[in-house]
Amino acid sequence: MRKVLMGNHALSYGAMLSRVQVIAAYPITPQTQVVELLSEMCAEKILDAQFIKVESEHSAMAACLGASLAGARTFTATSAQGLALMHELLHWASGGRLPVVLGNINRAMAPGWSIWTDQNDSLSQRDTGWMQFYCGSNQEVLDSVIQAFKVAEKLHIPAMIILDAFSLSHTYEIVDVPDQEKVDKFLPPFQPKFRLTPDEPHAFGGLTSPEHYFELRYKLQKDMEKAPALIEETGQEFEELFGRKLGLVDPYKCDDAEIILVTSGTTGYTARVAVDHFREKGLKVGNLRIRVLRPFPFEKVQSILSHAKKVAVIDRNISYGHHGIFYQEVKSALYGNSSVPVFGYITGLGGRDITLNTFQKIIEETQRNETPPERISWIGVKK
């Protein structure tokens, strides 16, 4: 059924259709509506799940871990400071191999206190061992939740579904909400490889000496390396049933492009407007939207970008003392594989709008320079 949904409610519907059994969450702007609607669904018995109210995000994730360990399909959602407060337990989820799915609404980190979008909150959690999916539309949000559960539960690795504050979370779009029956066919109940049950007591998370810790980490990485193929395969299976395709990356007019703009999140759709605008003027521009940052889609990024003459990476985030984080990721993927010059741009921090004009400046600067400048290019900063 087609509905007009805000991004936050697309997350709720995704969780509902995935038949989550336990939800533990703490409200924070701009995430609140996600769990508000889920709590209503639980109260009205549309969704047969336990909704656990907690006193903090740290407790929310702790409750999710307990539930997941008992074998329940578990969901939570948060933003910025809330995600930061969960940090310790994000490691517990991945190290404990618990396939929790978390919706994170990208909100800039305080101070200065901000509720508007940028990616530093989720990117600060890049190395916690979670898969990260950056969404570009509300439909993609809903579809990603369902697919993420399937991938996460097969690999026993948790997954984060990430969407921009306001430009997606509070923006209404037409979303196809698939039939429950069809989703059930795609996503069977969670069959954990291990769990805690009173019938068969186990100790979980106990002391792990140097004798064994190293191997546990090796196993997590080895399973993470299986994720790219599984994400693609799951996306194809989803397409066969629902007619919508999602993969590791989402290229737009990249085949013959001389300049490829690399983006993530909703910035990708603005970039497409810029691509069409510049193509009308005769300039061959393309857009590569990176949907999955972890596991990093090395092969896709290498094969698509190495055909271009120039690559421009747009970061709505920064690693202070280095550069934009997607910029670093793309450069490291191309190193030794391609000599295409990669330009990095920082823009849109703290919810500053990224518009056609922003892309115009980026494309012009990329055209003007033969090689990337040593200094960071800030687009739109008031100097």
């Binding site: 404990g96 618990l98 026993h156 291990f194 064994h212 191997e215 090796y218």
Partner: protein
Amino acid sequence: MKKQQPTKKIIFHSEKEMPLAPYSLGSMLHNRTGAWRNIRPEINLENCIQCGICWKFCPDVAIYIENEYPVVDYTYCKGCGLCAEECPVKCITMVEEEK
């Protein structure tokens, strides 16, 4: 409820044999945390009402039940004092360890 019997230390020789997560690795049995203790719980069994609260609350499973009464396993007891705090008849006293 019974006292933990010493078992052979679990050592995996290949990652392939290991569980995905730190799941029943048996490591705490070989981690003799009793050496951390500064104060020790002593139970006055004359006043004990056999409620089992100390056994239930002990975070290190260092209290076991023998002949229907609680016994502290000093090999593992860290001396946190939770049992003494929770005992409803206050028959557990925390006594300073001698150097």
